[in-house]
């Protein structure tokens, strides 16, 4: 089976950590999970990765990661499978004063 393309959408505040783009394309192997997607992102943009995940690889508390519109914590977290053509959307949660 061939790799599948997915798209990552970033908020403006993170674009500087992703080479200036808010739209990133990933080529993932079939059956890949969110963790695999983030690992691939990390290899290309390590500074972006640590905005999203802590030192132990956990998604930061106030970072929400949507898979085709569903927040991953309501699915299987970073073990959530990523379907072909999926849109992964990073949105900061409502937090802070």
């Amino acid at each position: 089976m061939t790799d599948m393309s997915v798209t990552v959408l970033l908020p403006g505040v993170l674009r500087a950590d992703a080479g200036g783009s808010g739209h990133l394309s990933l080529e993932l192997p079939p059956g890949a999970t969110l963790r695999v997607a983030l690992d691939q992102l990390a290899a290309r943009h390590p500074r972006l990765d640590r905005r999203l995940r802590d030192d132990q690889g956990a998604l930061r508390r106030y970072v929400n990661l949507y898979v085709d519109g569903a927040e991953c914590r309501g699915l299987a977290g970073l073990d959530t499978p990523v379907p072909a053509g999926a849109e992964l959307h990073v949105i900061p949660s409502v937090a802070g004063g």
Partner: protein, 370 residues
């Protein structure tokens, strides 16, 4: 006298870390200041270092975003541009199971090791850099200390917030943490000894435990490195033997509570403190803004008030929100939780307010940069 000293200082840079970004100011006379910022908007800046040991001044900032986590950024052009390495400057190794929450302290190593920088962090740990603060390694000896499971978080978190490298003997470092107390190493960080003998912990059943004291800040002078000054959660102390034993120096202060403790950059035994009435109030005694200075290593204290509001002043000064520059006649600076910054060009004799309405001030650092 004051004007002479002010004009002789050269250019002084002032770094003001706040709850919502870093503000930088420069001055040629320490009276008129030019501000830039906020750098790192929406990031809490708990630690800053103006490092003047190299060819040109380097500013390091420990930043924390509620959303995007902590980081350390560096500027070699007084804040005109910032760099943060692609790889995390400070990260806990996988086997620790820990993740960096916040950088509470960025401290320069000895003058003869200009690339050595220490970071005190939350959760309580010490990191050491050998490349000027671009990358840091965990000091394992402190992380593996058998006391660590018993270090408990204070209100501000569980953090190493004070790092005092010995000015000449590179194997000796003193750290302080909340809540845990003072620890020191004499073998380059391989082993650490709790150094709290004589410091009272009135919030514990055993009031004089080996460790568990809530030290807020420790200061010392590089020319007299065995003399340490500590502001604790109740209690102000001095040690004359590198931390083996501590004795109270709170007499003469209006309160034994506070956060800040700062050493004069040139005169050993001269220290600055900002007392806070505790525990029910947590406001400056008499609602007056007063810096206290001792010129005899804590035997006596005098209030510095000229130019500071003496009525209806309620904000507090946090542990790193007071600092000195290193001019011949040093300036003294402090910021408040209500976003005011006060500066003295003459060792605290005269003060003026140089900023207001900033976010809450978390740290203040100053240095002569030109």
């Amino acid at each position: 006298m004051t004007a002479q000293h002010g004009s002789a200082a050269g250019t002084v840079a002032l770094a003001i870390g706040t709850g919502k970004g870093l503000f930088l100011a420069t001055s040629g006379d320490r009276r008129r200041w030019e501000f830039t910022g906020p750098h790192f908007p929406m990031h809490a800046v708990y630690s800053a270092l103006i490092d003047t040991r190299g060819d040109r001044p380097r500013i390091l900032a420990g930043t924390t975003s509620q959303h995007w986590g902590p980081g350390v950024s560096a500027s070699d052009d007084l804040g005109a541009s910032w760099q943060e390495p692609a790889e995390a400057p400070i990260a806990f190794p996988d086997d620790t199971g820990a993740s960096l929450e916040q950088v509470w302290q960025l401290a320069p190593g000895p003058a003869h090791q200009p690339e050595v920088v220490y970071a005190g962090v939350q959760p309580s740990a010490l990191f050491r850099s050998e490349d000027g603060g671009r990358s840091f390694q965990l000091v394992r000896g402190l992380w593996d200390h058998p006391h660590r499971p018993e270090w408990t978080p204070g209100f501000g978190g569980k953090a190493v917030h004070t790092v005092l490298p010995h000015p000449r003997q590179t194997d000796r470092v003193v750290v302080a943490m909340s809540t845990g107390g003072v620890y020191r190493t004499t073998d380059g960080g391989a082993s650490w000894q709790a150094s709290n003998h004589g410091i009272r912990a009135k919030f514990l059943p055993n009031e004089y435990p080996e460790f568990g004291q809530c030290v807020h800040k420790v200061a010392r002078h590089p020319a007299r490195p065995d003399q340490l000054f500590a502001q604790n959660h109740h209690g102000v102390y001095r040690s004359d033997d590198g931390g083996s034993a501590w004795n109270s120096i709170a007499d003469g202060l209006p309160s034994d509570f506070g956060f800040a403790m700062v050493s004069h950059p040139h005169r050993p035994g001269v220290v600055y403190n900002f007392p806070i009435q505790a525990d029910e109030y947590r406001i400056p005694p008499d609602a007056a803004c007063r810096v206290y200075r001792s010129e005899d290593a804590g035997k006596s204290w005098g209030a510095l008030t000229d130019g500071l509001p003496q009525h209806g002043f309620y904000p507090t000064v946090l542990r790193d929100a007071m600092g000195v520059d290193d001019a011949e006649v040093p300036g003294v600076y402090f910021g408040t939780r209500s976003g005011e910054v006060f500066a003295s060009p003459d060792e605290g004799e005269h003060w003026q307010q140089i900023a207001a309405h900033l976010p809450d001030v978390l740290c203040v650092r100053a240095a002569v940069v030109g």
